[in-house]
């Protein structure tokens, strides 16, 4: 799809999404600003370029399905869904307010564009694999993209699922790890690093690529390669930078960065200048 998309346009979409992230998290301090800014390019490349979907018919059975298994990364997820046309952008103002379906962890009560309720980490990859196997049997061309957290990969279920996907050669599956190197406690090596991750995934039967997860062209090329790979599931290690796009926040390795209003307004100004 690379050639068909103007990367400059995608970049400005990503910046717009980042602005939403700041605006959504700032009022309450609830939400995950660092992860949202870091993953904005993954979301932009999947939802605005790679995946085939119809926001007017979110249940379309032949759609490509995107599973966000780190269901807490909702500021960027909801911003993406709204800008892509699944619900009004104005609804983003209700983020994490009482009674809103825009909860901090996404749940399918929002609508079918939340492909599964994944706030309990480690479960989404299995569901995506189930959908991918069903699509094969039903003769559908859909592809299945799963955005998994690097911390989340410590869950045993991820490895049960990965082993099966490799053993079955599920080539309609694309497992993307948002490798921001942070989990709840902080940097991952404080707790338990995944290294050597590429070797592990290779040995589980995946076709593996490592890309700069904040480089839209690189992400799009990686999806191209994945789509053309036959007989194996794909694994993309997307290295993302926490806080990407806001200089004062870039590289701050905090799971839940508390966000006072003055930081929010300077972040906002910085992003607006990029548009």
């Amino acid at each position: 799809m690379n050639a068909k998309h103007n990367v400059k346009d995608l970049e400005s979409i990503a910046t717009r999404l980042r602005l939403h992230v700041v605006d959504m998290v700032a009022p309450s301090g609830q939400g995950y600003v660092q992860q949202g800014l870091g993953a904005a390019d993954i979301f932009t490349s999947l939802y605005f370029a790679e995946a085939t979907m119809d926001p007017t018919n979110p249940e379309w059975p032949d759609r490509d399905r995107i599973f966000l298994t780190t269901a807490h990364n909702t500021a960027i997820f909801y911003a993406t869904l709204a800008e892509r046309g699944f619900f009004p952008v104005d609804d983003l103002k209700t983020y994490v307010t009482d009674g809103s379906t825009l909860e901090i962890n996404s749940s399918e009560r929002m609508g079918p564009f939340v492909e599964a309720t994944c706030g309990s980490l480690g479960q989404g990859l299995s569901v995506a694999i189930g959908c991918a196997i069903a699509a094969k049997r039903q003769g559908r061309a859909s592809r299945f993209y799963v955005i998994v957290g690097d911390g989340e990969m410590q869950e045993g279920q991820i490895w049960e699922a990965a082993m099966l996907a490799g053993a079955r050669g599920l080539d309609n599956l694309c497992f993307i790890v948002d490798y921001n190197f942070v989990q709840s406690e902080g940097p991952m090596d404080l707790v338990m690093s995944l290294d050597p991750l590429m070797d592990k995934m290779e040995s589980f039967g995946f076709a593996c690529q490592e890309v700069d997860g904040n480089d839209l062209s690189a992400l799009l090329s990686a999806y191209d390669v994945a789509r053309e790979t036959k007989g194996k599931p794909s694994f993309i290690k997307a290295n993302t930078l926490m806080g990407k796009g806001v200089e004062s926040l870039e590289g701050l390795m905090f799971h839940q960065l508390r966000f006072p209003p003055e930081v929010a307004s300077s972040a906002r100004a910085e992003l607006e200048a990029q548009l």
């Binding site: 962890n105 045993g156 709840s184 338990m192």
Partner: protein, 328 residues
């Protein structure tokens, strides 16, 4: 942000400019660990939210953040307990019960080992939504043989939770709630295994409650008193073993019972109280306040307590209902 700060210091500054929450459970566990070298703490990547950060910093050799891997944590705890240690395992209530139930039954409960299961975010009380809400954990854990269950009604009972867990020889589940704001200085209160606490006396009916619903029950009792109805309020912090004597005595002396819990009405405190009454052939006006066999959603605690009919208003309404039956 000053140029002299490194990025990390700046972020730390940003984070610390918010007032830290208290650590009434975590500090009590740490104090106990200083006295008893067998105590170790395990955590599945939720250190601060389970108040174990000071434990991590002061006793690093006895603390293990095992990563986001709850099942492995419980299995490891079983191994440690077999080796003479007393492991306290920490996560959110939803993950440390439902996600690891088989490991709990086979590696902690069946061998009757002192594995202490400590969960935070009880019932509906969280912004984090359905995946993080444990509305069936008490029902599940109550059905596990050898397991004790304790739930504090406020931070003044948090230190007692640690003591109860240690007084119970086998596996125990603590259903903890982190205060959402820093409370005024608290006076620690004691608790006993298998004993409820009468928090308010009354002759007309008894409200048996636990956890977050205790303060709601006390508030309901206050409203009822204005209406001329005197409710006894029992804090059933020891959910299992439960205080059979107090339940039966309350039934006999007040003649009507309402139960109130931040949990499904199926299998929790209300069911436990009903079981005690039925087993002794006691029939009386009775009503369970709790989550009505449905899933919930995230939100602020007062909003959710109101929306799912767990608050003082709902308890008072149930009390009026049983009083009506008692009279009729």
């Amino acid at each position: 942000m000053s140029d002299t700060l490194t990025q990390l210091e700046a972020a730390d500054f940003i984070n610390r400019s918010f007032k830290p929450l208290p650590r009434s459970y975590g500090d009590a566990l740490l104090a106990a660990a200083h006295n008893d070298p067998r105590i170790v703490a395990l955590c599945a990547d939720l250190v601060t939210p389970t108040e174990t950060d000071r434990f991590r910093d002061e006793l690093p050799d006895r603390f293990h953040n095992v990563g986001i891997a709850e099942a492995n944590m419980i299995g490891m705890a079983g191994g440690m307990a077999r080796s003479g240690e007393i492991p306290f395992c920490h996560s959110f209530c939803a993950f440390i019960t439902k996600r690891v139930l088989d490991q709990i039954t086979m590696q902690a409960a069946y061998p009757n080992l002192p594995v202490k299961i400590v969960g935070f975010l009880p019932g509906v009380a969280t912004l984090l939504g359905v995946s993080h809400q444990a509305i069936e954990d008490v029902a599940i854990m109550r059905a596990v043989p050898n397991m004790a269950i304790f739930e504090p009604s406020g931070p003044e009972y948090h230190a007692a939770m640690v003591k109860l867990a240690l007084d119970w020889d086998g596996p125990a589940y603590l259903r903890m709630k982190r205060p959402e704001t820093t409370p005024d200085a608290i006076e620690p209160q004691s608790l006993e295994i298998g004993k409820g606490v009468i928090r308010r006396e009354g002759r007309d009916l008894t409200i048996i409650s636990a956890g977050l619903c205790v303060s709601e029950a006390l508030q309901a009792a206050h409203t009822l008193a204005v209406e001329g109805v005197e409710a006894r309020v029992v804090d059933m912090a020891s959910l299992k073993p439960i205080d059979q004597g107090l339940i039966l005595e309350s039934a006999a002396s007040t003649g009507a019972i309402v139960t109130a819990e931040n949990h499904s009405i199926i299998g929790g405190l209300g069911s436990a109280v009903a079981e005690v009454l039925m087993d002794k052939g006691v029939g009386l006006p009775f009503k369970r306040v709790g989550i009505q066999d449905r899933f919930c959603e995230g939100g602020t605690t007062p909003y959710l307590m109101n929306k799912f009919d767990l608050d003082a208003v709902a308890i008072a309404k149930a009390a009026r209902g049983v009083m009506q039956k008692k009279k009729g």
